[in-house]
């Protein structure tokens, strides 16, 4: 027996689902009270009315808590201190927040090029009042992911002067990109207190119900991590990820599909390749912040069942906003939903009103069934056009992923036979036209109204451990955790490095509180380091992944 609860906190509604052995038992939908997300969550939970709550094995929550705090600019100020070194001007890129540059430089091998200047640090303490205040300070160095020396030195110095400072160090985001690493460190520190409070409250509320099941939070990459282990910033954009996962629970494993979730004003589009959702090649962008957060490649386009249709000289235009419900459902403006109703593609809404609404777009003399029919078809074609455009752009992102090896170029992505899975309010009305345009079979998703909760409930933990080893510098680092350590093995390791990475991965998984079973190993890249025609060491890159996915299929 395995019992899962999934809850998705959306902008307007919070959805919940209870699944027992792959069968959906109960669902619930309650309005979201964004000022108190924990209460909303518990209300949704309550509404599920699960008979034996103590039998729940796992609760997975997808929440907009962090996303909204960032987009609504509700994060406390963070002092951002940069060891920016030489290179591209720091201000060549747009910085949505202020920063201070300090001297000190590290190079791409992690060697110290120039030491920091302590006098600058002393001045810093005085000028920005870091001596007493319990301020937030993010310290990020260029190439700190290769050597965190300067970050640690400054952190120690600041801690000695003011133990109440909340510090965050950039090297914990171990991927390259100083700019994104800086902003990611900044944001994660900025939202940490808000998130910690939420985690405490939620755990307390669940414990109060005598539920011992662990709580997981859904991440942007479609994986889940224990409530206490996740880095808060990783929880952004879990909603769109959940809708892709929901589709996976209804798919045959290992098929390739285009996922289309048509909402009232927004349509989310994702791509699944041989059963694995496509990850974005760049980190997530949230508001003005470019981050290193791994996320699924999802396109959200401002078109949906409630998008407004306007009369124009050329006929009509499909707007990107909503003005209440569709005309046929008692609203004031015609929408694609009216077109669907008029054409008999959906069975809800008033047929007469649908015709009336559409007629308002046409000139008086054209308000006949023939023209109404043409108009309704053209409206749906326009919706389909927008969706297909986004699908194409997503496919291009996949096909045009940069390749850095001969092998990769000679073995390009095979073109796949896709099928399309459509869910959401407008799914039924658009599926035929969409299937025709995409030239793929179309399947309707079920339980559209709670699909994100379903995706959350069935999310599998994702796991990545990417090793960068420099045997000459005797240093290794791990991208995902920023861990840096001394290498004591040989200068040219071969099998040795495999065992090393396996052990690292096991440690890291244990520390994150997740189990890894279905791990995929990338082949290692070996770069001989040559000095004066002599090989003096190697740089080795390797990685293991547990790709995003679901723990099983689900039926109603």
């Amino acid at each position: 027996m395995s019992n899962q609860v999934g809850i998705d906190v959306g902008g307007t509604y919070t959805d919940a689902v209870f699944i027992q052995d792959g069968h959906i038992q109960n669902t619930a939908k309650v309005p979201t009270r964004s000022e108190n997300i924990v209460e909303t969550l518990m209300e949704a939970f309550e509404t599920l009315s699960i008979v034996e709550e103590s039998s729940i094995d796992q609760i997975v929550v997808s929440t907009t808590l962090v996303t909204n705090a960032i987009l609504q600019d509700r994060i406390p100020p963070v002092e951002l201190l940069l060891f920016s070194g030489n290179g591209m001007r720091v201000d060549a890129l747009p910085w949505p927040v202020g920063y201070r540059e300090l001297s000190g430089e590290i190079d791409f091998r992690g060697r110290e090029i120039a030491p920091p200047d302590q006098r600058e640090w002393e001045k810093l303490l005085q000028t920005i009042g870091l001596r007493e205040n319990p301020a937030h300070v993010a310290i990020v160095g260029k190439f700190s992911h290769r050597n965190n020396l300067h970050e640690e030195q400054l952190a120690n110095y600041l801690r000695q002067n003011n133990s109440s400072l909340r510090l965050a160090l950039g090297h914990e985001w171990g991927q390259a990109n100083f700019y994104r690493r800086s902003l990611t460190t900044y944001l994660n520190l900025g939202v940490s207190e808000l998130y910690q409070q939420f985690a405490l409250d939620l755990q307390a509320a669940v414990t109060a119900r005598k539920i011992e099941a662990p709580i997981f939070i859904l991440k942007a990459d479609g994986g889940s991590l224990p409530l206490a282990k996740i880095r808060p910033i990783d929880s952004i954009y879990s909603g769109p990820a959940a809708s892709v996962l929901a589709a996976l629970t209804q798919n045959e494993p290992a098929v390739s599909s285009i996922i289309v979730d048509i909402g009232g004003t927004t349509t989310d589009i994702g791509l699944v390749l041989s059963g694995v959702p496509l990850l974005s090649s760049k980190g997530a962008q949230i508001g003005p912040f470019s981050t290193l957060v791994r996320s699924l490649a999802v396109r959200s386009i401002p078109v949906g069942g409630d998008s407004v249709i306007h009369a124009t000289d050329q006929g009509f235009s499909l707007e990107s906003y909503r003005l209440g419900p569709a005309y046929c459902l008692g609203g004031n403006v015609p929408t694609p939903t009216d077109a669907m109703r008029y054409l008999g593609l959906i069975d809800y809404g008033n047929e007469q009103l649908a015709a009336e609404g559409l007629a308002s777009v046409l000139p008086q003399e054209q308000r006949t069934p023939k023209f109404l029919n043409e108009l309704a078809t053209a409206v749906l074609d326009t919706v389909v056009d927008r969706i297909v455009e986004a699908v194409d752009s997503l496919k291009r992102e996949w096909e045009e992923e940069p390749a850095y090896k001969v092998w990769e170029v000679l073995h390009p992505h095979e073109s796949q036979a896709f099928h399309t899975l459509v869910s959401g309010g407008g799914a039924r009305g658009i599926s035929m036209a969409l299937g025709k345009r995409l030239g793929t079979p179309v399947q309707l998703g079920y339980l559209s109204e709670i699909s994100n909760a379903l995706g959350a409930a069935m999310a599998r933990a994702t796991f990545d451990c990417t090793l960068h080893l420099d045997t000459y510098m005797k240093q290794y680092s791990v991208e995902e955790t920023g861990e840096q350590g001394k290498w004591t093995g040989s200068l040219r390791p071969y099998l040795e490095v495999e065992g090393f990475l396996d052990a690292l991965a096991q440690q890291q998984a244990a520390r994150s509180g997740i189990k890894i079973q279905d791990v995929e190993k990338e082949p290692f890249d070996f770069f001989p380091i040559v000095q004066g025609y002599k090989t003096v060491g190697q740089i080795v890159r390797g990685a293991v992944h547990q790709r995003p996915g679901v723990i099983g299929r689900v039926s109603v």
Binding site: G87, R89, I113, N177, P402, I529
Partner: protein, 446 residues
């Protein structure tokens, strides 16, 4: 916004040998530097992914001898570098980008009109394959190539030596002091393309100032006079003061300045083997300069140790060189063989050394003198110490009807009376058709 394209193909799984300068590690630190700087996040930068060039595209510029299929086993990485150049060049011509940087390995500028193997780390000439593709497929007429690699771009020179529509300028460390030992001011182009090749050999020790002086005094005016549709920079990085193979004194900033002055439509990486001390910084400076960003903060950690040649002695040297260049007049030998089609054929014999495998190629080039077009080119090439001998017949772009016919007649003769030939290529640039003939296999079209 003027966009800058980048095609980064470091070929992380390819090398010419474990400790060879052209090895996996070469662009590793460049990748670290570019990615860490966040250059790809600049809104004006667009990244492209590589593609493989076809043999058809290669044969448009170069004859693979004795036959294309005898070489294809080792061509993969080279075909990707050439394909990458084509891809970015197309994006430039179509206006998708304002300029671009093909940051790919392996390099190509030592690879000439006839290819028996790898020389100077090059097998295929990326720029030449690109240039001829743009002329054949995208209607580009006049292209200038400025080679700023420290070595003479002898391969590129060889391919375009008789082509009046391609201006080839090479700045390099004097051939008396460095591989490949060519590139002197008297190499000014073939009979139909006189003065369309410009070689500027520079004394060892030339630095940022010296380079800028030569560009402003000599290169830029020549470029302006030619008024090309497109400028391509063969951006070798071995003029850097840390380069282990050469003796020049450019800095990363100096490379940024060269890029700023040349304003190339496309920069294509060539050599440069100071993979830690120079490449990460030089590549960054070039890319920033192309993208219109400030490159003055790009600073390599090392300081020059070699003595920099100051401007005072360099100026008169360059002026003298320029005068010498102007006084050189064409002096060609006519040699008409019995079976040659009507006209005067200029004979230019020379030999080419393949350092990677250590063998010599003997070349006999014949060019049909023509006032109307680039002229038919007929090359007999022999790989010495082997019995293999091959021919290249080139009917040039925009060939006049007489030169076109001359090409067919020569090819016809080759097919009928070529007892001593192993193979041949009919490089019909005019109609974009390429035929390979081989004694055993017969004719194959590419």
């Amino acid at each position: 916004m003027k966009r800058t394209g980048i095609l980064f193909f470091p070929a992380f799984d390819w090398s010419l040998g474990d400790s060879h300068p052209e090895r996996e590690e070469r662009l590793l630190y460049t990748q670290e530097q570019l990615f860490e700087e966040g250059v790809l996040d600049l809104p004006q930068i667009k990244q492209f992914s590589p593609r493989v060039a076809s043999l058809h595209e290669v044969l448009r510029a170069q004859a693979l001898l004795p036959t294309p299929w005898s070489q294809t086993d080792s061509l993969d990485a080279h075909l990707i570098a050439a394909g990458s150049a084509i891809l970015l060049g197309e994006a430039r011509v179509r206006g998708e980008i304002g300029n671009g940087f093909v940051l790919a390995r392996p390099p190509g500028h030592h690879s000439g009109a006839t290819v028996w193997g790898n020389r100077g780390f090059c097998t295929l000439n990326n720029e030449a394959i690109l240039v001829n593709h743009l002329r054949a497929q995208l209607g580009i007429k006049k292209i200038a190539i400025v080679d700023t690699d420290v070595h003479h771009g002898d391969g590129t020179q060889d391919i375009f030596y008789h082509d009046p529509n391609v201006l080839f300028i090479s700045l390099h460390q004097d051939g008396r002091t460095l591989y490949p030992g060519t590139g002197f001011v008297n190499e000014k182009g073939g009979p139909n393309a006189w003065d369309q090749t410009l070689n500027i050999p520079l004394p060892p020790g030339t630095g940022d100032e010296g380079y800028q002086y030569v560009l402003e005094e000599w290169v830029l005016p020549r470029l302006r006079a030619f008024a090309p549709d497109l400028i391509i920079n063969s951006a070798g990085q071995d003029n850097h003061f840390t380069d282990p193979l050469a003796s020049m004194n450019l800095s990363a900033g100096g490379y940024g300045r060269i890029t700023e002055l040349l304003q190339p439509d496309l920069a294509v990486l060539e050599g440069g083997y100071s993979i830690e001390g120079a490449l990460p910084y030089v590549n960054l400076a070039i890319l920033l300069a192309l993208a219109g960003e400030d490159y003055h903060h790009v600073r390599e950690p090392q300081k020059p140790e070699r003595p920099v040649l100051s401007l005072a002695p360099l100026k008169p040297y360059i002026q003298g060189l320029k005068q010498q260049h102007q006084t050189i007049k064409p002096n060609f030998t006519i040699q008409n063989k019995a079976y040659f089609p009507r006209g005067n054929w200029i004979y230019i014999p020379h030999s080419v050394y393949y350092d990677t495998e250590g063998f010599q190629e003997s070349r006999h080039d014949y060019i049909r003198q023509c006032d109307h077009c680039a002229g038919t080119v007929y090359i007999e090439s022999q790989r010495l110490s082997s019995l293999q001998k091959s021919s290249l017949v080139r009917i040039p772009f925009q060939a006049c009807s007489e030169c076109e016919q001359a090409g067919y007649d020569l090819w016809d003769h080759l097919l009928r009376h070529s007892e001593d030939m192993t193979s041949g290529l009919l490089q019909n640039q005019l109609h974009d058709k390429f035929f390979v003939w081989q004694r055993k296999e017969g004719l194959t079209q590419f």
